[in-house]
């Protein structure tokens, strides 16, 4: 803390000598403050390093045991970490979990990508300031609703509703995918809207000048110009859908299975298990540390982290690389 004299001096115009001759203590204070803040910045790097270290260390312990090797983990088609299968062994194959995650991602993408883009176009091109003032905060609230609440919503509202139309299980991939879709709409719409709003008005005016209608201007000029931002929002939203945990744990069930073929519709109507849900189920299964199941969480975490990390980087790359320069 500085003394009041110093504060007073900073508040008033200083005389000429003050500019050239700073007290030694002041310079030391400046340097010290700078290092403290820099340390805060470095902490964020340590967090990333910590995450990577924890995941790799845990996964390496997991693969070092003779239960499963990397190849078996990546190609195995049974996931039974806490209860033994018929042949008396635990099974750690990630494929059913990957399939579950993909089902959720595809379902949510079908819901959220067109809806989010439509909302972004409406908010930036059509909505009056008054309508915008209502819709935008509402979408922000939608983004802030805890994910476990979405799980509850899927289980007790969407599934009973879908039950009127399909032969659907209590825990099913469809309703979980739908709520994950609803959850990521705000992410698509807000980032896409930023990109669409950034398209300069001169482009729109040029299109109108050539005789285009508003519809033609929007679909042939504005949206293509903002495409990099829109795609980047898509990738980020899908990355979020991959990492989504509680909604799918609560609503999609806990049975890891390989995809149904040729009865593909069963993939949506039956219960599934995603990578994230598998981690939660192992963690809440009350097993001790240093068991294969415990270590498997880190291998799953590594796979999850790898997927989302790559997708986030891709989103950033697209947004930066293909940005239209106006």
């Amino acid at each position: 803390m500085s003394t009041p004299e110093e504060t007073a001096r900073a508040d008033q115009p200083a005389d000429a000598t003050d500019i050239t001759s700073r007290k030694a203590g002041e310079i030391q204070l400046d340097t010290a403050v700078r290092y403290v803040f820099a340390a805060c910045g470095v902490l964020t790097v340590l967090v990333t390093a910590g995450i990577i270290y924890v995941l790799i260390d845990g996964a390496q312990v997991f693969f070092a045991s003779d239960i499963v090797d990397v190849q078996g983990f990546l190609t195995g088609n049974t996931w039974k970490p806490t209860s033994k299968t018929g042949d008396g062994t635990y099974k750690f194959g990630i494929l059913p979990l990957v399939s579950g995650t993909l089902i959720i991602v595809v379902t949510s993408a079908v819901i959220a990508l067109p809806t989010g883009l439509g909302a972004a176009i409406y908010l930036s091109e059509y909505a009056s300031p008054r309508t915008r003032a209502i819709f935008k905060p509402t979408l922000e609230i939608l983004a802030g609703v805890p994910t476990i609440v979405y799980g509850f919503f899927a289980l007790f509202f969407i599934t009973p509703f879908l039950d009127n139309f399909f032969q659907i299980r209590t825990f099913n991939a469809l309703s979980a995918g739908i709520v994950v879709g609803i959850m990521i709409i705000p992410m698509v719409s807000s980032i896409s809207e930023d990109a669409i709003s950034a398209v300069p008005n001169s482009l729109r005016e040029a299109a109108y000048g050539l005789g285009s209608t508003k519809f033609e201007t929007t679909t042939r000029v504005v949206v293509p110009s903002a495409l990099s931002g829109i795609i980047s929002s898509y990738v980020l939203a899908l990355s979020r859908a991959i990492g989504e945990t509680m909604a799918v744990t609560v609503a999609a069930g806990q049975s890891a299975k390989m995809p149904f073929y040729p009865n593909v519709e069963q993939n949506l109507l039956q219960s599934i298990e995603t990578i994230t849900a598998a981690m939660i189920n192992v963690a809440s299964a009350d097993i001790g540390g240093n068991t294969p199941a415990y270590d498997s969480m880190f291998a799953l975490g590594l796979a999850l982290f790898g997927m989302t990390f790559v997708m986030n980087l891709v989103a950033e790359y697209i947004a930066g690389r293909y940005r239209e320069e106006y």
């Binding site: 500085s2 009041p4 900073a10 200083a14 500019i19 700073r22 002041e26 400046d30 403050v33 700078r34 803040f37 820099a38 805060c40 910045g41 470095v42 964020t44 790097v45 967090v47 910590g50 995450i51 924890v54 995941l55 260390d57 845990g58 989010g116 439509g118 909302a119 909505a127 819709f135 609230i141 939608l142 802030g144 609703v145 805890p146 994910t147 476990i148 609440v149 509850f152 509202f157 709409i185 719409s189 209608t213 508003k214 519809f215 033609e216 980020l236 990492g243 509680m246 744990t249 609560v250 981690m279 963690a283 809440s284 969480m297 880190f298 999850l304 982290f305 989302t308 990390f309 950033e316």
Partner: protein, 539 residues
């Protein structure tokens, strides 16, 4: 003629296409709003037990509430001052409620006697010093000295002081350490402008309320009369400040009654509806729910330990995560070099923060489990001792790391919004980096920083997956009172109820829990919006 026909035809078609497209886009926007409405309706319906009520009962209550709300809205619309007062008083009450919950949880954790020891030993003497010393120049250092000195004395003599304070009723301690000083403060603020009589009435009324409220309200277990007093003070103090400011500026205070009228309308509606004799709603979300722990019977189950746990975690988390996040944001915006190899490292840090914001929360849970809970050691040296699985500290640190990236990004945006001209003006007057930061940049960026940090609190309160990963219990029966107690949180208890066998748990009790969680989140977001709006108005 033929050309004209073709033109009108094309125009008609493209108009139709345009209108259809506009409608589709509007529909897409409405999907989100409708989903939110359906969600809130389902949850509220279940939590307030409307299933049990007769349609007539529901109709009467909704009509009365609608009438009072409609009346307030119509009245407030005619007059801009009334409208502003109605909105700000509602916001002040919501803010007061959030403040009240934090204050009660804080008092639960520190216990009244420890609070009294520090309040009597350090806070009150510091307050007196600040009020007594007239010279601005000496006021701050003298107050700080008294605060630190008193704190040291209180810590040294803590056992004696707490024993002394423990003899008195907690409510009396709060009366002496909070109500009376507050009355004095009100007196010194109000007396110069409003005169002795009004100031005396206000201060006297405050003390009287402090004596009367706890004596009149039956203290429902586990909340003592003292805690009711603390909550009441926190609930109404923002409204009081608001009313005083408006009074001082000569504005009408009629609009402040808006929330009271709306709630009053609902209460009258319930009374009338009960009088009709039709089956009433049987709310799951009631006082019993908020003050009991989980139970095997749905009727007796409650969220109390989880509520305390959630707010406890958030307080510890905020104390650790906010300074670090703001510090990192300041470094990146104000100090970090942008050129050379150092600049490239800073760029890397920036990319890294953006990436951290996208890491799934369940992965943070693994970090919390393996490092924060279990500790790290380098050979024989323990770098971090490990705080243990499922305790308050572990949960707070894990969630703190989780919200750090989003807090940093929003703080950076707030700092970036400060015009460069202000910094240059400060430097031109000979101020150093630190002085410029402290006196120019931070005061201007503070509301933006606060908004971002409060919003991240709203995100943290709903996080479940990381807590499960670090081994937090889904159900605890008594609220945590120290940093090393095992803790549950609202979403954890909700998760547990979703898997209960008895149907009432999965419908009524679960809805009540979800509504509590949503209300807490919405209230916190409302506080953030309040801060932001105030800031935008001032600009």
């Amino acid at each position: 003629m033929a050309t004209v026909d073709r033109l009108t035809f094309t125009n008609g078609l493209s108009k139709l296409k345009g209108a259809a497209f506009r409608l589709v886009c509007l529909g897409a926007t409405a999907v989100g709003v409708l989903a939110l409405a359906a969600l809130l309706l389902t949850v509220t319906w279940g939590a307030l037990g409307f299933d049990a009520a007769h349609p007539v009962w529901i109709l009467v209550v909704l009509t009365a509430t609608g009438l009072s709300t409609g009346g307030v809205v119509t009245y407030a619309r005619r007059d801009e001052t009334v409208k502003l007062a109605a909105i700000s008083s509602t916001a002040a009450l919501i803010g007061g409620a959030v403040l009240g919950v934090f204050a009660v949880v804080f008092q639960l954790i520190v216990t009244p006697s420890v609070w009294a020891a520090y309040a009597g030993g350090a806070l009150l003497p510091a307050l007196v010093t600040a009020l007594v010393i007239p010279n601005r120049r000496y006021r701050l250092p003298a107050t700080a000295a008294v605060l630190v000195g008193g704190g040291v004395v209180a810590t040294v003599a803590l056992d004696t002081l707490t024993e002394l304070a423990g003899a008195a009723d907690p409510w009396l301690l709060y009366l002496l350490t909070i109500v009376v000083p507050l009355a004095v403060l009100v007196w010194t603020r109000v007396e110069p402008t409003a005169g002795r009589r009004r100031a005396g009435l206000l201060a006297g009324g405050l003390v009287l309320a402090g004596v009367a409220v706890p004596l009149l309200t039956p203290a429902p277990d586990p909340l003592t009369p003292g805690l009711v007093l603390v909550f009441g003070l926190a609930l109404f103090s923002p409204l009081g400040v608001l009313a005083w400011r408006r009074f001082r500026n000569g504005q009408s205070n009629v609009g402040l009654a808006a929330p009271l009228v709306i709630v009053g309308g609902a209460v009258v509606g319930v009374v009338i509806a009960n009088a009709t004799g039709f089956a009433a709603a049987d709310p799951w979300l009631d006082w019993q729910f908020l003050t009991s722990p989980h139970s095997r019977l749905p009727e007796d189950a409650g969220l109390y330990p989880a509520v305390v746990g959630s707010f406890f975690i958030m307080m510890v988390m905020a104390a650790f995560a906010f300074p670090v996040s703001v510090g990192a944001a300041i470094y990146l915006e104000e100090y970090a070099p942008s050129t050379g190899w150092r600049g490239r490292i800073v760029q890397l840090i920036q990319v890294n923060i953006a990436n951290l914001a996208g890491v799934p929360s369940v992965v943070y849970g693994l970090l919390g489990l393996a490092i924060i809970a279990r500790g790290v050691s380098l050979g024989p040296f323990a770098l971090w001792p490990g705080t243990g699985t499922g305790v308050v500290t572990t949960a707070a640190f894990t969630l703190g790391l989780l919200i750090m990236p989003i807090t940093i990004i929003s703080a950076q945006e707030a700092i970036r919004a400060v015009p460069d001209a202000h910094r240059r003006a400060s430097y031109a007057m000979g101020a150093s980096d630190w002085h410029t930061l402290r006196n120019v940049v931070l005061p201007e960026a503070l509301p933006g920083i606060l908004t971002g940090t409060i919003l991240s609190l709203g995100r943290a309160i709903g996080e479940t997956a990381p807590l499960i990963m670090i081994g937090a219990a889904t159900t605890v029966y008594s609220p945590p009172t120290s940093l090393n107690d095992s803790v549950s949180a609202m979403p954890m208890q909700i998760y547990a109820w979703a898997g209960e066998f008895i149907a009432d748990f999965r419908t009524g009790v679960l809805s009540a829990g979800v509504l509590t969680l949503l209300l807490a989140m919405l209230a916190i977001n409302a506080v953030a919006i309040l801060v932001r709006n105030r800031y935008e108005r001032n600009q």
